[in-house]
C-alpha cells in the first residue's frame, strides 16, 4: 500500500514537472521561432529586392535555410504557389500559416502580424515591397522583445511551478 502511494506521488511530481517544463519551453521556442521568422524575411527581402527572384522560387530558397516548423510553413507556402492551387499569394500564405500554426509556438498576435504581411507579399513594385519587408521585420523585432521579457518572467516561474505544484499535489493526496 505504502509502495503504491509513493509510486503514484512520484508519477504526479514527474508529470507536473514535465508540464511545467513544457509551458516554460514554449516561451523559449516562441522566441526562437520569431528570430527565425525575422531571419527568413531578411533573406526573402534580399531575394525579392536585390535579385527580383519570382516568389515561389524565392520562398523555396529561403526555406532551405530554415528548420523546424517555420521551415515546414515556408515549404508549404512555396508548394502552394508552385502548384498554383490558390488564386492569390495571400490565400496560399493564409492557408499555409493556418495549417502549420498548431506546430508553431507563436501567439495570436504574432500570427495576426504574419497574416497581414501575407496580404501584401508580392503584389506591388520593389520599392513598396522593401517598405513592407522593413515593417514586418521591425514588428517581429518588437514581438521578440516582448517574447524575451515574457521568457525571463515566466520561464523559471513555470518550471518551478511544475515541480512545486506536483509536490504540493502529492502531499495533499498523501
Amino acid at each position: 500500500m505504502v509502495f503504491i502511494k509513493i509510486l503514484s506521488s512520484l508519477v504526479i511530481v514527474v508529470c507536473c514537472s514535465f508540464l511545467g517544463l513544457q509551458a516554460a519551453n514554449a516561451y523559449a521556442l516562441r522566441l526562437k521561432e520569431l528570430r527565425m521568422l525575422r531571419m527568413a524575411f531578411a533573406h526573402l527581402e534580399s531575394e525579392v529586392i536585390n535579385y527580383a527572384t519570382f516568389l515561389p522560387e524565392a520562398v523555396e530558397r529561403v526555406a532551405a535555410l530554415l528548420h523546424g516548423g517555420v521551415k515546414e510553413f515556408f515549404c508549404d507556402f512555396s508548394r502552394r504557389l508552385q502548384k498554383r492551387s490558390g488564386d492569390t499569394a495571400a490565400e496560399a500564405w493564409e492557408k499555409a500559416l493556418k495549417g502549420w500554426k498548431k506546430h508553431l509556438h507563436i501567439t495570436m498576435e504574432d500570427t495576426q502580424i504574419l497574416l497581414t504581411f501575407g496580404k501584401v507579399l508580392g503584389v506591388s513594385d520593389r520599392e513598396s515591397q522593401q517598405r513592407y519587408f522593413q515593417i514586418i521585420q521591425s514588428q517581429l523585432r518588437n514581438q521578440e522583445q516582448k517574447a524575451e521579457e515574457a521568457c525571463l518572467k515566466y520561464q523559471t516561474m513555470y518550471r518551478n511551478l511544475g515541480v512545486l505544484g506536483g509536490l504540493a499535489l502529492a502531499i495533499i493526496l498523501l
Partner: protein, 330 residues
Amino acid sequence: MEYSRWPSGVAWKRVILDALPENIQRVIDGIPQDIAESLEEIRIREGRPIVIHGRGKSYYLGADGGLWPSPEKAYYVTHRDVQSILQRISNYSIYAVEEELRNGYITLRGGYRVGLAGKAVLEGGKIKTLKYINSFNIRISREIIGVADKVIRYIVSGAEVYHTLVLSPPQMGKTTLIRDIARQLSDGFPGFRGIKVGIVDERSEIAGCFQGVPQNNVGLQTDVLDACPKAEGIMMLIRSMSPAVIITDEIGKAEDVEAIEEALNAGIKIITTAHSSDIGDAQRRPILSKILDKKIFQRIIVLGSSLGVGTVEKIYDGHTLNNLLDRPIR
C-alpha cells in the same frame, strides 16, 4: 492541370490555362476543338465578357464554354478574376515584372504574350508602372517552322549571307519570317553550314524568351539578347558574342542606323525588318530612306497578302532595285 493531354494545335492551353483562375480555365477549356486550334487572341476585361478572336471571327464566351455571337449569355469577368490573372501571369511577383508592366506586356513560358491595360503611373513625365490593370490581351502566337524555305535561297549565296531588310505592313508575318530565317541560318540546311546568329529581341517577339530562355526554335547556334534596346544590343553582341549574323526586329530610329553601320564595319551581316508596304513607301520615311540611300541592304523582301497572309510579294536586289521574283510566292 494535366500537362500531356493537349494535342499540338492547342498546345497553348498548357501555358495559358495556367495563367487563368480555375473558373475561367474551365470556360476556355470548353472551347470547341476546331476554334481552339485557330485561336489568335483571348480578350479579358473586367466587368465585361470574354471575347475570343480567330480566323477573322470573334465570339463571346458563355459560362459553359459555349460561343455566342452576342453578349447576352456571356460570362462576365469579375474583379477577383482580374486580380487572380494578374498574380498568376506575374508568377505571384509583381515586383519582378516592373519592366514588363512599363512596356505593357508580360511574356509567358512558351513565348505567349499578354498585353495589359490599366492606369499609367507617371514619374517625371515617363511611365513608371501600370496600376488598376483591368484588360488583358492574351495573344496565341504560333511559330511556323519552314516558313522561310521560300526566301532562304535568295538571301544566301554559297556561304555568304546577304544584308536583308524585310518590309511589310503589320500582321503580315515579318517576325515569323525572320524567326525562321534565324533558325535556318543557325542550324544550316543542305548546301549551307550553320553559322553563329545573334538576335536582339527588344520586344521579346522573335525568340519569345521566358526568364531569358528562348521558347521558340531560333536555332542551335543562336544567342538572344532579350528585351534589350536594339542599338545598344547590336553593339553588345558585336563586342561579346562574335555573331556572323545579327537579326533584329523593326528598325526605325536614328541610333539603329548607326548601330547597323557599326555591325557592317565589323563584317557582320544584318537581317532586320521595318513597317512599310513597299520600297516607295519606305523611301518617304526619313530614317528608312536614309538606310535605303546608303544601299546597305543587298536584299529587300516585301511581304503582303495578295495570296493570303505572309505572301512574299517581291524580293529586290538592294543595289539595282530589280525585283528577283516573277510573281508573288506563298
